[in-house]
Amino acid sequence: MAKDEFKEFKLVGTRPDRPDGLDKVTGRARYGADISAPGMLWGAVVRSPHAHARIVKIDASKALAMDGVKAVVTRADFPTGLTGDAWNLQENTMAGERALYDGHAVAAVAAISKTLAEDAARLVEVEYEILPHVTDVDEAMAEGAPVIREGAADATVPEGMHPNVVKYMEFGRGDIEAGFAEADLVKEHTFKTEAAHQGYIEPHACLGQLGEDGKGEMWVCTQGQWYIRKMCADVLGLDGAQLRVTPSEIGGGFGGKTTIFMEPLPLALSKKTGGRPVKIVMSRSEVLRATGPTASASMDVKIGMKKDGTITAGRAEFRMQGGAFPGAPVDMALYCAFAGYNVPNLEHVGYDVLANRPKCAAYRAPGSPMAAFAVESLVDELCRELGLDPLEVRMKNAVKSGDQASYGPKFGSIGLVETLEATVAHPNLQAELGPNQGRGVAVGYWFNHSGETSVSMAISEDGTAQVSVGTPDIGGSRASIALMTAETLGIPYEDVRVNVVETGALGVNEPTHGSRATFASGKAAVEAARQAIGEMCRRAAKEWGIEPEAVEWVDGAAQPAGPNAGEFPPMTIAEIAGKMGSTGGPISGHHESVPEGVGASFGAHVVDVEVDPETGRTTILRYLVVQDAGRAIHPAYVEGQYQGGAAQGIGWALNEEYIYDDQGRLQNPVFLDYRVPVASDLPMIDTVIVEVPNPGHPYGVRGVGETGITPPLPAIANAIQDAVGVRVRQLPISPPRLLAALKAKG
């Protein structure tokens, strides 16, 4: 579908107030910790202070003896015999024989107040036998490294590798040796990135109640209530349909709230207290120690380039640790590594490695930022050495619609070329740079995702419409879904209410992840609206005594499709709805599917930095995000995604990192030392929304949430080299690291 096939829209592309705006500026929106229940108890979790230790004995007698303490649970209270991912989730929820990382839960307590629960948790006595530990990915796969878990490797891992390597992959195309031979310049370097946390401001919170009859209720901050339901049911041995999960408003997630950490514990404690509701709210240090950051990575990249900028071959070998469980996103990282380039000869090798760290979770384009840091940094180094313009080189090698992607499939409609063109044209590229200032560019990619989607919509008696979606609104999706529904129905935006509903109200929905809410729930809402329109046309046809096919829907009303259909004045949605009771009953629409037609999104970032050569501190002077949105349904929230992604990438590049001491204890589990960017660290973040409509979506939507975190990591490294002439291949490029590099250069 070409751009000009899209008609002018009345609502799509406008910037109305978000439907939940008033709730969120007045403080009445209810997040995870904001709900209490009659008879409620508070829970607190006992956590391992050791990176790796055998749990010899847990003695909760002192805690249980306290007045007001109602229950203690340990792994002994969980069902046995789980396998695969269910076992991994259970083991991470509550340690079994061994604590596998600093912060790993070993027991939980319920009491009549929060203070009492915390006091009781401190009185639970746990005897540990400390075991050797490892937290670095390269050390974890080296000979002699402590084994985190025997037998965790899957069939992909070749013989002879360390047992901590639990997954191995390789793929490629062409002949890479021939490709490197063809190049005028071949460069190869190792790059490292540290784990970064999603850093959502709302800590995990969950209110759960579970009876002896196996029926349970949960109020929880999550990106996906059905994922919570399935995972909790698996871990606790419950029937999924007996567990009803209501998502609260969510205070940020970025992938980190697509899985469970402590959420089964309120249920387990509730069951042990005769079904009393139990609330657990994590502290910030629990969030940082025991919920999933992203993986840390060690990456070897080799690229060959001709003098004219043509990339002839590329090789990427990525090693990632995602904590004490399988699941580092090494596959996604490899798929994204060369996704922006048409390179005939490629080789990818990946290792998923266990280490004594918390179980990693998804974080905005999981794997892609690390891959971009390695590949886009090295491409920049090649451009510098060959005297080539980095944007021209990216344009020269850019993938286009229909090209075979580096990871196999053919690209559908993509907008990398349009994105690069818009980047080159932006005035930021003409801004003058002073001493110790530099400019860096980089490109990023994310596939985007669809997933199981179920949406219902119903017309009210007055002709307004309600839409029930299963994807929590994490950044304005109520607004975008309402816009698309209203556009389709031909009614005002204000006449649509979008509700995020509990698990009992719809079929299974995947979480709000993979940049899918506006794409998948939006597409399903449009389909549901079209179904309702069909029904309303039938009602009008019946009243007029003509064939339903002779009725069309225009601007929120049924009307005869042409002069031959008959002469009737348009019948509005309100008129049709007003008599629904006598014309056949409720009017609604429903759609469920795994929507096809996901549109991938490329972005290009340009950053100007200034480095203080005496202290190694980097200041962001100017920042530009250019990204293909397909079509921006609500442009303000698309810009918001671009800006937020860039800010997170800037934090990861400059200051955010997991710091472990030699005992394997996390040294910075507070926002004081886990340094996310603050308002005074950043300039305004300029955005350009490129619109190459996605033909797979009725309004051309591509997911926009994730790509934006990817380019900042290499773009900043590239800008720093431009400013002060040193190349830093390890993140974060913190002042001590950069100053050391500057001193080494002399």
Binding site: T615, Q667, R675, V678, S680, P735, L739, K743
Partner: protein, 286 residues
């Protein structure tokens, strides 16, 4: 935990002296509450000093110096134009502690008593020759600020003793002070290195100087060699280089999550130069 609200420092000292377990004094609370919430220090007795008359006052002393109450917040200091004119370095050190919100609560005395080698307000006080009045269960005494910290988390206060006021000397003429710190972000971090310089001029020549460093040793340092490096000079390039060298030489830092030994040592010299230039400019303008 028992929460007390004594009406005088004598009462506070008596409460503390009579307490059996862990005791903490509450002024701004920005350290005490964090430790309480984290379960690091749960005092048996918490003695809130804010109900004692005068603790929120900033008053000019008879000799032209300043007496600052123990509950005076950073925000109050920053809003006091005369104090800022006299001791801009002391005030800017305090104003760097935490956020706007923390500024509404945090106090100079609390920052000092927390005993952190990285406390932002302490180098400025040391450079300024500030002192504290201490009320004990039996007697009172006055101690120079540089003698209060005894190591990370440790102070010279004996059981039952409480700081009852902070005293800044008269500023005098042709003098200026400044404090700079290095942090990775622009706000909200603990100092990786801090440096305060206070000096007095005779014409263009530095007549006297005090240089103090934070976060580069177990306690805030008063670096005599650094002071000597610029005293008698016009803060020319040679003096600045000597100052930087002396500051770096005085460092005895650690590698930790906030910085490395090499980084702290290097940047101490850089900040000393920069702070000295600001103090010099202020002294010239005074």
């Amino acid at each position: 935990m028992q929460y007390h609200t004594p009406a005088s420092f004598e009462e506070a000292a008596a409460l503390a002296a009579g307490a059996k377990g862990t005791t903490r004094f509450l002024a701004g609370g920005t350290d005490v509450l964090v430790q309480l919430r984290a379960g690091m220090v749960i005092p048996d007795d918490l003695i809130d000093l804010k109900r004692i008359p005068g603790v929120s006052d900033i008053t000019r002393t008879d000799d032209g110096g300043w007496r600052i109450g123990v509950a005076v917040s950073g925000a109050q200091l920053g809003a006091h134009a005369e104090l800022v004119a006299d001791w801009p370095g002391v005030v800017e050190g305090m104003e760097l502690v935490g956020s706007t919100q923390v500024q509404g609560r945090a106090t100079l005395t609390g920052n000092l008593c927390n005993g952190s080698p990285a406390a932002d307000s302490v180098p400025g006080l040391v450079a300024a020759c500030a002192s504290v009045e201490i009320t004990g269960p039996d007697s009172s005494r006055t101690v120079a600020v540089q003698d209060v910290p005894q190591g990370p988390g440790k102070t010279c206060l004996k059981p039952g003793e409480v700081i009852s006021a902070l005293i800044l000397p008269p500023r005098g003429k042709n003098a200026g002070d400044a404090y700079l710190r290095f942090i990775p972000r622009t706000e909200m971090d603990i100092a990786v290195v801090g440096c305060a310089v206070s000096l007095r001029l005779d014409g263009d020549t530095i007549k006297e100087a005090r240089v103090s460093l934070g976060a580069v040793a177990p306690t805030v340092l008063l670096v005599d060699a650094a002071s000597e490096a610029i005293t008698g000079t016009t803060l020319d390039d040679a003096a600045l280089d000597a100052l930087a060298a002396a500051a770096s030489a005085a460092c005895n830092p650690i590698d930790d999550k906030r910085g490395t030994v090499a980084f702290r040592t290097e940047v101490a010299g850089v900040l000393a130069k920069r702070a000295a230039k600001i103090a010099y400019t202020r002294a010239k303008g005074a």
